[in-house]
C-alpha cells in the first residue's frame, strides 16, 4: 500500500515537473540569451552566459540607443493609472450594487458586467472615431480610458460577488458610529475588499500591459508607444541585433513578473474566496 502510494506520488510529480519544464524552458531561453553576444547565441543557444559568451551589450543598447525608457514609462503610466481607476471606480460601483436597493439596481448590475461577455474590441471602428473626435488620438489618456472601460466589468463582477458575501453588519455598525456613506466606503469597505484587490489587479493588469491591439490602433505614435508595441516594432526593425531584441523582451517581462510574484499568494486566496464561482 505504502509503496503503491509512493509510486503514484512520484508519478504525479513527474507529470508536474515535466509540464513545469515545458512552461519554463522558452522563458529561460530568452533570459539566458539576452546576456549573450550574437555569436554565442547562434553558436550555442542552450549555453549559459558565462566567460567570453557573456555580454551586456543587448541591455546597454536597449536602454541607451532607443526610446525604450520612454516606452517603458508609457506602459507604466497607462497600466498604473488604468489599474487605479479600475480598482477605485469598480469598487465604488460594486459597493453601490451590493449595499443599496434602488429601482433599476438589477438592470444596472447586469449592464455593467455585460462587458465580460462582449469584448470592447468589437467597437474598435467607432472607438477610433470617437477618440479622434475627442482629440485624444495618440495620447495615453485614450488608452487609459479604454482600458478602464475594458477592465471595469470583471472588476465590478468580482467585487460585487465578494461584497455580497461580506456581512452587512459591519457597515451598519459604522453607520451607528456616525460615518457618512462616503466614509463608510473609504474606511470600511476598502479595507474589507483588500483580499480580492490582488485578484482584480492581476486579472486587469495582464491584458493591459500586454495589449497590442489598442496601442496599435489608438496610439501608434512614437511618443505614446507602449513597451509591447515598441518591442513588436523593435523586432521588425533590428532583426540583426539579437542581443537587443532579447534584452527588450526580458525588460518587457519583468514588471508583470514582479507584480505576479508579489500577488500570487493573494491571487489564489482571492479566487477561492468565492470571487469566481462560475
Amino acid at each position: 500500500m505504502l509503496i503503491k502510494e509512493r509510486l503514484s506520488n512520484a508519478g504525479i510529480h513527474t507529470v508536474l515537473i515535466a509540464y513545469s519544464l515545458l512552461a519554463l524552458f522558452p522563458l529561460a531561453l530568452i533570459l539566458i540569451n539576452s546576456f549573450k553576444s550574437r555569436k554565442a547565441i547562434f553558436r550555442e543557444p542552450m549555453g549559459l552566459p558565462i566567460g567570453d559568451s557573456f555580454s551586456g551589450k543587448g541591455y546597454a543598447s536597449v536602454l541607451s540607443n532607443s526610446d525604450f525608457p520612454l516606452y517603458f514609462s508609457n506602459s507604466l503610466t497607462v497600466t498604473c493609472v488604468s489599474l487605479v481607476l479600475i480598482l477605485l471606480l469598480g469598487a465604488m460601483a460594486a459597493h453601490a450594487l451590493s449595499e443599496y436597493r434602488f429601482p433599476g439596481d438589477t438592470f444596472i448590475g447586469i449592464y455593467l458586467v455585460l462587458g465580460i461577455m462582449v469584448p470592447i474590441r468589437l467597437g474598435t471602428v467607432a472607438l477610433l472615431e470617437l477618440i479622434v473626435n475627442l482629440g485624444l488620438a495618440n495620447t495615453l489618456t485614450a488608452l487609459i480610458l479604454v482600458y478602464t472601460a475594458q477592465g471595469l466589468p470583471i472588476a465590478i463582477f468580482i467585487f460585487t460577488e465578494f461584497l455580497r458575501s461580506v456581512s452587512r453588519e459591519i457597515k451598519d455598525s459604522a453607520r451607528i458610529d456616525g460615518l457618512s456613506e462616503y466614509r463608510i466606503f473609504f474606511e470600511v469597505v476598502i479595507p474589507l475588499v483588500r483580499p480580492v484587490i490582488a485578484t482584480v489587479a492581476v486579472f486587469s493588469m495582464i491584458p493591459i500591459w500586454n495589449d497590442l491591439w489598442f496601442p496599435l490602433i489608438l496610439s501608434p505614435g512614437e511618443e505614446t508607444r507602449t513597451v509591447t508595441l515598441g518591442v513588436q516594432q523593435f523586432i521588425g526593425q533590428y532583426t540583426v541585433n539579437w542581443g537587443a531584441v532579447l534584452a527588450s523582451l526580458s525588460v518587457a517581462i519583468v514588471p508583470v513578473l514582479v507584480m505576479y510574484i508579489i500577488f500570487s499568494k493573494q491571487l489564489i486566496r482571492g479566487i477561492t474566496a468565492g470571487a469566481v464561482k462560475g
Binding site: S173, A174, R175, I176, G178
Partner: protein, 348 residues
C-alpha cells in the same frame, strides 16, 4: 438612561408587511427581549430603532424625544451585532475608540472611556490585537465594549450570542445580565432562543409574522401564554397540545374531566407542559412508550396515545421505561391551558 417608545410603527417592503402595527413602551432601565422564529420581524424592528431601516409609518421616541427622523448616530443608541461587526483592520483599542474618535471626543476622555470599558469586560490584555487574533467570545466582548464606550441611552443587541458555542453562550449570557445590573441602561435584546429570552428579560415581546403575539414578564408568558404560538414557543421541551372537548364548562379528554373553564365550549385544545405531567395508575392519558430518553437527572418520556397523538413528559431521572411498555400520565387542573379553535387562550 431613557425610556423607549414605539407608537404605531409599521414597515413594509413593497407589498410585504414586515411589521404590522407595533406600539410598545420600554421603561427606563428595563431589559426587554424581542423573541420569535426567524423572519418574524424582530430584527427589522430593532434595526428601525437603531435607524438602519426607515419606518413606513409611526413614531419612535427615546427619552421622550422623537428620533425616527434622526440618523443612527444621533439617537443615543449603541448596537451589538451577531457577527460582531468589528473593523478587521483596527486593533481592539482602535475598535473601541473608533466612534468617539469620529465624533471628535477629546483624546483623554476617549482613553478614559476605552480603559473603563476594557476593564469591565476584561479586555485589558488584548488591546493591541486585531480581531482575527481573537476568539469568538473575545470578539463579542469587544463588540459589547464598543457599545459601552459610547455611553448610549439604549443598548441594542441583535442576536449577539448566536455565533458562539453552547458553553460560551451560557457564560456570555450571564455576563450580559451582570452588565445590565451594573450599568442599569435600557436594553433591547433580539434573539430566537427562548432560553436566552427567559433568563435575561425583564419583559419579553413575542413576535410572529410581523405581529406581537404577547408582551409580558417571562413568568407571565410561561404561566399564561396568550395563545398556542406563545405557549409552544416558551418552555423546553415544548408544550404538548391534545384535542379536548368542553361540556358544561368541564374540559374533557377521553371522557375524563381534567379541569373546568367557564367560557370553554365545544372543541378546544388542551395545552400541557411536559414538566407538569405526572405518572399515574390509570390515566387520564394512557398509551404506550414510543421513546424513552434518559438525561441523567431527568428523563423524557414520549408516549403515543391510542388515537395517534403524541405526548412528551419530563420525568425524574429515577424512572425507567422501555419502548412499547404501556404507561399512564395525569395532570393537575391548575396546570391545564385551554385554547379555543382559533388558538387563543380561554380564561378560567
Amino acid at each position: 438612561m431613557a425610556t423607549l417608545e414605539l407608537k404605531g410603527v409599521k414597515k413594509s417592503f413593497g407589498a410585504v408587511n414586515v411589521i404590522h402595527d407595533m406600539t410598545l413602551e420600554v421603561r427606563d432601565g428595563e431589559l426587554i427581549v424581542f423573541v420569535g422564529p426567524s423572519g418574524c420581524g424582530k430584527s427589522t424592528m430593532l434595526r428601525m430603532i437603531a435607524g438602519l431601516e426607515t419606518l413606513t409609518q409611526g413614531q419612535i421616541s427615546i427619552g421622550g424625544k422623537r428620533v425616527d427622523h434622526l440618523p443612527p448616530t444621533d439617537r443615543g443608541i449603541a448596537m451589538v451585532f451577531q457577527s460582531y461587526a468589528l473593523y478587521p483592520h483596527k486593533d481592539v483599542r482602535g475598535n473601541l475608540g473608533f466612534a468617539l474618535k469620529h465624533a471628535g471626543v477629546d483624546k483623554k476622555e476617549i482613553e478614559e472611556r476605552v480603559n473603563n470599558a476594557s476593564e469591565i469586560l476584561g479586555l485589558s490584555d488584548l488591546m493591541t490585537r486585531k480581531p482575527r487574533e481573537l476568539s469568538g467570545g473575545q470578539r463579542q466582548r469587544v463588540a459589547i465594549g464598543r457599545a459601552i464606550v459610547r455611553e448610549p441611552d439604549v443598548f441594542l443587541f441583535d442576536e449577539p450570542l448566536s455565533n458562539l458555542d453552547a458553553a460560551l453562550r451560557v457564560h456570555m449570557r450571564v455576563e450580559i445580565l451582570k452588565l445590565h445590573q451594573r450599568l442599569g441602561n435600557t436594553m433591547v435584546y433580539v434573539t430566537h432562543d427562548q432560553v436566552e429570552a427567559m433568563t435575561l428579560a425583564d419583559r419579553i415581546v413575542v413576535f410572529k409574522d410581523g405581529q406581537v403575539e404577547q408582551v409580558g414578564t417571562p413568568l407571565e408568558l410561561y404561566r399564561k401564554p396568550a395563545n398556542k404560538f406563545v405557549a409552544g414557543f416558551i418552555g423546553s421541551p415544548a408544550m404538548n397540545f391534545v384535542n379536548a372537548n368542553a361540556v358544561d364548562s368541564a374540559v374533557m379528554v377521553a371522557g375524563t374531566k381534567l379541569c373546568s373553564s367557564k367560557s370553554a365550549a365545544g372543541e378546544v385544545t388542551l395545552g400541557v407542559r411536559p414538566e407538569h405531567l405526572i405518572l399515574t395508575e390509570d390515566g387520564p392519558f394512557s398509551g404506550v412508550v414510543s421513546v424513552f430518553e434518559h438525561l441523567g437527572g431527568e428523563a423524557f418520556l414520549h408516549m403515543t396515545l391510542p388515537d395517534g397523538q403524541l405526548l412528551v413528559a419530563k420525568l425524574d431521572g429515577e424512572n425507567s421505561f422501555s419502548t412499547g411498555q404501556p404507561c399512564s400520565l395525569g395532570i393537575r387542573p391548575e396546570h391545564c391551558h385551554v385554547f379555543n379553535k382559533e388558538g387563543y387562550r380561554i380564561a378560567e
